[in-house]
Amino acid sequence: MFIKTKAIALLTVLLALPAAMPAWAKNYQIDVNGIVCEFCAFGIGKKLRKLPFIDPANFEDGVKVDIENQRVFVSVKAGEAVDQEALFDAIKSGGYDPINMQEMDEVASPAEVTQ
């Protein structure tokens, strides 16, 4: 009886664990044609950071431009839906051409994103 009670308690804790854990922000990588100069691409970061679902806690206020590999990294707030069209529009209005977007590992940190 005691063992059964402990098992139920443990199961209850395990089931409740995901809700109790903090949710991770999701990071995305966007390949962008033409980004070779951070001065020229300054506006991309400016445009992207204005989007409401960008998480300023990661990268550099939520965005990182990688001119070495022509990529832009964005972090999306936990629980928020990512709006790819808004992201692409922001990049286009910055004068560049986004190609595709893919989700990175949930736990990817800015340190893992190489220049």
Binding site: G34, C37, E38, F39, C40, F42, G43, S93, G94, Y96
Partner: protein
Amino acid sequence: MKQPIGIFTAVATVALGFISTIASQAHAHQPVMDMAPRWNGGYGVQTRIEQANDQTTTWVEGVYTFKPALRMTLKVPYSGGEMGNAILAMPIKRYKNEGAFTSNWGLTPSVRMPTGGGSDWDAGLSLSYSSESRKVYTLYDLYTIGDTTGIDINAGLVHADGNGSSWFTLWDITAKDSDSGQHVLNGPVLVYFKRNIIVRGEYKFEAYDDDTEWNGNYLSIGIGMVF
């Protein structure tokens, strides 16, 4: 893309017609921060101190980007405490982005206003091409304003540190032809970027001078910011 192409063609036609009817004296020409801002609603300011012909001129320059294909620039010179003739221009650009390479063609109609006195208005037009990769930057600018026709060529290397700043080490060749004669200058240009700040210095040696209004070398130092 239909709208920018339409604007491009219309403005070029009007400007070419306009420029053929107006001619007057001319001085310096230089784009206001060709590289940026290239984003919608971006703007920038720049000031340059220019030393040429035993005269120091301070230029206060501004740029506003309506969209990547259309900007407006204003350049106002001050010399000896007095304002000179300001130049208002509208660069129209067509960008091409490919992998680690970006380039653009630009057509820039301009007008020099008699803000420094007099009543002459001068029209100008520039056709430019610039390209940039991770390592190389080039700019070619063929222009005419008033009685002056000239060409600027900038080409050189880009050194990015991967932390938001870059050095450009370029060589500049400038050739001008006007009613007063012809001269050719060339020399090094050093450009430094850090995030949204640009610092530019250039020194050009006189390579050829058959110009009654030109004398000696040229120095320009400037700093600008984009937002």
